[in-house]
Symmetry: C2
DNA sequence: CCTTTTTCGGAACAGGTTGTTTAGTTATGA
DNA sequence: TCATAACTAAACAACCTGTTCCGAAAAAGG
């Protein structure tokens, strides 16, 4: 599910080329937004032959993913904040996106495409699901209602992120986080409680 | 916000052309999914000259919107179910999408693009916002936390719709609705109660 | 050091898309 | 009936994608 296991090539030329292309994508995203970037843009910016590009990536999307996977680590770890609090990653996430406003906006906002959002949703759904499973007694086969809860939570979170990145919502990371938790947590805890109460 | 006020042309040729193009879009969406449909596809299917198309619409997106606006009415009215229950439109919505599975999947699923989802989100956000405002004492200037709540709710709802339409979620409309309400309503009511409690 | 292998670059290519413009034809409403 | 508005067909420039070819340059290895 997480694509090619990323392993550094031993050939310096290859490393240089791939790095140049990834960097070009980031630069261009900041300029025009992800959707508007073309392969031709990429090879010009990276100063790389057209044939060379297609020797390394099939798509501009593949370039994106190869860069985006690094970001997925950010959600998992931060073991300091690994409290018993549900969804402890949200505040750090809001804060991190606040620091990286420009990139976040270019990636998640109106001009930043489906691919990014879809990938982000995937990654986050996995994290949320693991957390909820951990909060339930073990043996239980995860009920369908859990999947739906995961989808609701990630959907709400991503929607907030998108609007916020877009500038349609003016608030501090702390305010964003508080609003999110206020809406989502009560219901989520109720669902969990009901699951614990009636193990099947 | 809702584009051009749609008013039927008096010229039969115009009505015929526009109808043919809209219908062609629906047909093609069912075949290849929205994203994959090109303007060239549309004019072939509708049997309409290229220049004619651009005389009526600027985009394939505009065609989509002009068709989609009809759907927006479906959310507003249904005065029968206009109960005091919060978000009373959700169950009818799930049910309607269940009847129109094929189209819903082609529009909302993986192969159906950003534009549809974004527009759907817009339309729904407006409905939700009105409902929440109605549930609050009048004079209050709507607080920012209300906007965030609206975004959370529509984000969660649309996410559910998407996954469901995609076939990743097997459930009846009633089950979908119940899961949605279980997660979202407790928090939503808490937020509303707090707003009522401390009018500013 | 010299040879072999791999990668790179540039350019050209076919195929597809968009949106505009031309000039000639046809349907409509008054 | 008839002027007008809407339609058609075709050609157009501009852009993008993905592939292919070959000579040049860099790495790897004996």
């Amino acid at each position: 599910m997480s694509g090619t296991p990323r392993r550094e090539s031993s050939d310096r030329r290859v490393r240089r080329t791939r790095r140049a292309i990834r960097q070009a994508l980031v630069d261009l995203i900041l300029t025009k937004g992800y959707e508007a970037v073309t392969v031709t843009d990429l090879i010009n910016r990276a100063d790389v032959g057209r044939s060379t590009f297609y020797a390394h990536f099939t798509d501009k999307e593949e370039v994106l993913f190869s860069s985006l996977d690094e970001l997925s680590d950010l959600l998992r770890l931060d073991p300091a904040s690994r409290s018993d609090r549900l969804l402890s990653f949200t505040l750090p996430m809001f804060e991190h996106l606040h620091e990286q406003r420009r990139l976040a906006r270019a990636l998640l906002g109106r001009r930043g495409g489906t691919a990014v959002v879809a990938r982000g949703e995937q990654i986050m759904a996995a994290v949320v699901r693991d957390e909820l499973l951990a909060a339930l007694p073990e043996g239980n086969s995860p009920p369908a209602s859990l999947d739906m809860a995961v989808i609701c939570v990630t959907g709400a979170f991503m929607a907030l992120l998108r609007k916020w990145a877009d500038g349609e919502l003016l608030a501090t990371p702390a305010e964003m986080d508080a609003a999110f938790r206020a809406v989502v947590l009560p219901g989520l805890e109720a669902v969990l409680a009901e699951q614990r109460g009636r193990p099947m």
